[in-house]
């Protein structure tokens, strides 16, 4: 459903800060895939997600979603097809607006916004039902400002917003990295629940190798802006952290996995 071909992106080209983020990137995502993405810092994981989302436009190569070329489509237009959750809990929600107002924004993703009411009573009921599934008590706080919520609650809300209108592809960019371990676990559980309930095609970047192995049906490892390892199905189920570390060392030419990966 999504096909990335020979995509490259360099930041600050021609300056002293030049950084090749992604180079010769190829990836085909199939319908129903739940792919976990791992790789060291600077491997290009977030850049890849941002290229898919349209935050950055590639220097070269093409990205096609369901036979539509979205390589240069503006971010707000392809948002109709994509659900996104970010690493920073502040990024996915509008803090000064209420929970229900945030959900109403997300409910209208991909639709023209006119002079109809920004939120209707019928919607409120629907939001309450959906918030109940998060099991965080947010269904009783519809009008609370989102800035009053904890990081974990905000991420759970963002996740709900990203999937309120079923996206063709769900992009999760280390969405639990800023949370404490217990909350991260809870949000990951919710992610699993929502993804399987709606059978969502998902791309999830993580720094945690155990999570990368535990979740999803396919795992890719990135290094220096390319996919260097792609494993799925039964083979993936047999993986353990040691295997991944070895793979990583092989790929990076004996270089040790960075501390954060080792600790994970």
């Amino acid at each position: 459903m999504l096909k990335i071909e020979q995509v490259g992106k360099t930041f600050n080209a021609g300056t002293i800060n030049e950084k090749v983020a992604v180079k010769g990137l190829d990836l085909t995502i199939n319908d129903g895939d739940f792919i976990t993405v791992i790789g060291g810092n600077g491997a290009g994981k977030s850049t890849m997600l941002n290229l898919i989302a349209g935050v950055y436009i590639p220097d070269e190569g093409s990205i096609r979603l369901d036979d539509t070329d979205i390589t240069r489509m503006p971010e707000y237009r392809r948002a109709a097809l994509l659900g996104r959750v970010f690493q920073d809990p502040m990024m996915g929600t509008a803090g000064d607006m209420g929970i229900e107002e945030n959900l109403a924004m997300a409910y209208r993703r991909g639709r023209r916004r006119g002079l109809g009411w920004g939120i209707t009573n019928a919607e409120r009921e629907f939001y309450r039902e959906r918030l109940k599934t998060l099991d965080l008590g947010l269904e009783d706080r519809l009008t609370s400002k989102v800035r009053l919520l904890s990081g974990g609650q905000r991420q759970a809300l963002t996740l709900l917003m990203a999937t309120l209108q079923k996206p063709r592809l769900l992009l999760l960019d280390e969405h639990t990295a800023a949370l404490d371990p217990k909350t991260a676990h809870k949000v990951l559980g919710l992610t699993q629940q929502i993804v399987s309930e709606h059978n969502l095609t998902t791309l999830m970047v993580t720094h945690n190798m155990k999570d990368a192995i535990h979740y999803g049906n396919r795992l890719i490892m990135m290094h220096e802006g390319r996919v260097i390892y792609d494993i799925s199905g039964e083979e993936k189920k047999k993986l353990d952290v040691q295997d991944l570390l070895e793979k990583f060392e092989q790929a990076s030419g004996g270089e040790f996995a960075n501390d954060r990966m080792l600790l994970a």
Binding site: A79, A94, M97, R109, R111, G114
Partner: protein, 300 residues
């Protein structure tokens, strides 16, 4: 004793003036508070609104109808700043300053000279009839607040508020933030234009420098309204507080003028008031963090 009666007798005029400027302050509220865009266009767009109204009235157009054109003229000013920012990537403050400067020439063209008087012309609001001016100002304020309350509850209005809050989130939800910014700037300056039209009629003339420092009056009104009245409450209350802020601002001005402050020193006084009002929240924050760090150091 003389001062007190003097202040009291100056109050009705201050209230009517505050109501007229309050509409401009509502425009500033849209950009400054909702969109988080410091728009300096207003210093000139208020004059554009006033100039259009004055020139049309002299040409025989009904004063009420002339205000429609004041609004449209203001919206065009906002569009100019919006395009400079969204299409050409010029930072908000600079985009506003450029439009503001360019509009000086436009305003001179509209007026034909630096000052156009409305001597003997019928206007819908005038400082010659203060009670009526207060009534008209109040009616316009209520109408504008009602319209804003409705608009910012619509899908488009919500998208604008969200744009001011978190552009990143808004784009991820499929909203073109360039469009929301343009619409917000146009509505804001439309209100500023309306205020300018009313102001020209109220004063009985349009002057090319009538908008100098308008942004400061707008900001002062927004901040005073917020400080004096509760910051919570529904949206309509927040908007009413902005208009009330403008009224208080002009009441204070009337007071210090009665106390003998020179008219020429007023701008300095206004700037100082706004600087203090803008600084207070920041200084409070600093103090509380310093306290916290000190407390933490003690414990540690």
């Amino acid at each position: 004793m003389g001062i007190i009666t003097g202040v009291l007798s100056a109050m009705p005029a201050a209230i009517s003036q505050g109501l007229v400027w309050g509409i401009m302050a509502l425009g500033v509220y849209i950009t400054y508070r909702l969109l988080d865009f410091a728009d300096l266009t207003v210093d000139s767009s208020i004059c554009t609104g006033g100039a259009v109204s004055a020139v049309l009235i002299i040409a025989g157009v009904h004063p009420l109808v002339s205000l429609v054109f004041s609004i449209l003229a203001g919206m065009l000013c906002g569009l100019a700043t919006g395009l400079l920012h969204t299409k050409l990537g010029i930072p908000p403050i600079l985009a506003g300053i450029l439009t503001q400067l360019g509009l000086y020439s436009v305003n001179m063209r509209i007026l034909g000279r630096a000052n156009v008087a409305l001597l003997g012309k019928e206007t819908i609001i005038s400082l010659g009839n203060i009670p009526m001016a207060i009534l008209v100002g109040a009616v316009f304020s209520v109408l504008v607040i009602g319209a804003m309350y409705w608009f910012f509850g619509t899908e488009l209005g919500c998208a604008i508020r969200a744009t001011g809050n978190n552009q990143n989130m808004v784009r991820a939800q499929g909203v073109n933030t360039n469009t929301t910014k343009l619409v917000a700037l146009m509505i804001s300056n439309g209100l500023v234009g309306l205020s300018g039209g009313l102001l020209a009629q109220y004063n009985g003339y349009a002057d090319v420098s009538m908008g100098r420092g308008a942004i400061v009056v707008g900001l002062a009104s927004v901040i005073i309204g917020q400080v004096v009245f509760a910051q919570k409450g529904n949206f309509a209350c927040l908007l009413a507080a902005v208009v009330a802020g403008a009224v208080i601002y002009y009441a204070v001005i009337a007071l210090v003028m009665q106390l003998g402050l020179n008219t020429n020193d007023m701008k300095l006084f206004s700037a100082a008031v706004v600087a203090v009002a803008l600084a207070v929240p920041n200084l409070k924050k600093k103090k509380s963090t310093r306290k916290k760090t000190a407390a933490a150091a003690k414990e540690g």
